[in-house]
């Protein structure tokens, strides 16, 4: 296991080179569903980051006890524990946001990013590396969600974090805050990022 990436490498890899949304195309359900306002996107990314960090560290601590045929069950139960904590915390302190996000907070349990990181990193490497990886991946996820949400909120409502940023004459592009806007924005951003990467390689 000498060729496993170090903590710093894991951290940097997660943000852009192995961005969970734009590079691995994981966690697309929340990416498309909760990015109609920047506030919701940031909250979602925060919740996912909390769950990912806790789950990664716990799994990494018990990695020597894991039996291969039972590991997915252990991952899921660990993740479910922290998702429940995050869900209740949001409901207690950010009630409106909890209402807005609706079922997407409980659905973090089945978010592929977390189970993927548990399998790839936490079940094989030390807690420090697992924690660094979780932070990197969460930052990458947050970056992806906020980039889509910022575009959708500005075009769709002329505002950012609920504050008006566009001139009063700006006509709201209602379609951008509706589901088609999510698919269009995500597709165009994904295309733009692929285009930039191709240009760099060439």
């Amino acid at each position: 296991m000498a060729d496993q990436p170090t903590a710093t490498e894991r951290l940097i890899q997660g943000i852009l080179p192995e961005n969970p949304v734009y590079r691995q195309l994981l966690g697309l359900c929340p990416t498309l569903a909760v990015t109609n306002s920047l506030m919701a996107a940031v909250t979602m990314a925060g919740a996912v980051g909390f769950v990912l960090l806790c789950a990664n560290v716990i799994i990494s601590l018990i990695r020597d006890l894991l039996k291969p045929h039972l590991r997915i069950v252990v991952f899921t139960l660990t993740i479910a524990t922290f998702v429940t904590i995050a869900d209740r915390l949001l409901a207690a302190y950010l009630y409106q946001m909890s209402k807005t996000l609706g079922p997407y907070i409980p659905l973090i349990i089945v978010n592929c990013i977390i189970i993927c990181r548990c399998e790839v990193v936490a079940s094989k490497q030390a807690p420090i590396v697992a924690a660094a990886d979780a932070i990197g991946q969460s930052l990458g996820f947050g970056l992806a969600l906020s980039s889509i949400a910022a575009i959708r909120e500005i075009l769709g409502t002329g505002a950012l974090f609920g504050l008006r940023v566009m001139p009063a004459l700006w006509p709201d592009w209602v379609i951008m805050v509706l589901p088609p806007g999510a698919f269009l924005t995500f597709g165009l951003l994904l295309g733009a990022i692929n285009w930039i990467t191709d240009k760099k390689k060439a």
Partner: protein, 338 residues
């Protein structure tokens, strides 16, 4: 000696192999008839569509005057600029000369109400050419009718500006802009427009849809020229006739008959100019007929049971989506095959 020299001369005069042409003889394998019309080209088809659009554009200019001119200018400018920009971004040679961007621009303008503000036409044109066409790989590769993609985008974004809401104005010829559109008036208040108004086109509505006569003239020209196949409008009109007829017999006798369904709204404009886009409709005659039937049925479904007064745009987009399926379904049986 002389012959040898001549031979050498001839040799030197032999042209080098043209790199652009295939070096081996090409054998075309295709079903009969083998005498293909060599004059058929994208550009000829697009010019035909432009000719067919003349009565529609003329009628819209007569009824809506300044509004029609303004919308045409915005949409044409927008779609030409978008085509130029996006094709350049892809690093391909300019495709302005195939006239497809002009056709998209005019059809888009004709499908918008004249009172829509400038940004509606501009955004619709950029979405139509960019997301509707270029992103799929250019003309011939697009899944959905580009003009309708652009229109759907602005229709959902700026529903208020697209409602052709009436207000008093002196710029138009026959006081059309001050009325609600016939489809809206019927949907909201049950007001039935006279058939003659729908036929000649002296009503409010999207620019190109008001005059049934102009659409019929343009459509017949396209069919006579074989630029569009008759199966699509035929299937579409048949479906509308049957469903409209049944609705006539079954529904409340409120005066909105099957003839109103055919002459009103953008049905004829859609049947001849939008549903017939050769790129986004099926390839075989049988497939085209099925496609037309599907568009007609969806139009009637949307008109009779949805909240929208009109359904041509969504019907065409939905049937565009199933065109690949229809193509697979309607593969003709080769001659001799059981």
């Amino acid at each position: 000696m002389t012959t040898e020299k001549q031979l050498n001369m001839q040799d030197s005069q032999v042209k080098p192999i043209d790199e652009t042409r295939p070096t081996a003889p090409v054998i075309h394998v295709s079903p009969s008839p083998h005498l293909a019309q060599s004059t058929t080209s994208t550009r000829r088809m697009m010019v035909d569509v432009l000719v067919a659009l003349v009565p529609v554009v003329a009628m819209s200019l007569f009824v809506f005057r300044g509004y029609a001119l303004f919308q045409l200018a915005v949409c044409l400018g927008g779609s030409l600029a978008a085509e130029l920009l996006f094709v350049k971004m892809r690093g391909r040679p300019s495709t302005l000369k195939d006239f497809s961007a002009i056709v998209t621009g005019i059809i888009l303008a004709m499908s918008l109400p004249g009172t829509a503000p400038w940004y509606v036409g501009l955004i619709a044109a950029f979405v139509a050419v960019g997301i509707g066409k270029i992103i799929f790989g250019g003309l011939g590769m697009n899944l959905f009718n580009p003009a309708m993609v652009g229109r759907a985008f602005v229709m959902i974004s700026f529903a208020g500006a697209l409602a052709a809401s009436g207000f008093e104005d002196v710029r138009s010829a026959v006081d059309a802009v001050s009325q609600a559109t016939p489809m809206n008036a019927y949907k909201m208040n049950g007001v039935v427009a006279p058939l003659a108004h729908l036929f000649w086109g002296t009503t409010n509505g999207s620019l190109g849809e008001t005059s049934a006569l102009a659409c019929l003239l343009g459509g017949l020209y396209l069919i006579v020229r074989r630029t569009v196949s008759w199966e699509i409008p035929a299937g579409l009109l048949l479906a509308v006739l049957v469903i409209g007829g049944v609705a006539d017999l079954a529904g409340p006798a409120d005066g909105w008959t099957v003839l109103h369904h055919i002459l009103g709204g953008s049905l004829l404009f859609g049947a001849f100019f939008i549903a017939t886009d050769p790129v986004t409709s099926p390839l075989t005659p049988r497939g085209k007929f099925i496609f037309g039937l599907g568009v007609g049925m969806l139009i009637m479904l949307l008109r009779l049971f949805s909240g929208y007064p009109e359904g041509v745009m969504f019907a065409v987009l939905l049937m565009n989506a199933v065109t690949p399926l229809i193509n697979r379904w309607a593969i003709p049986v080769p001659f001799g095959e059981q």
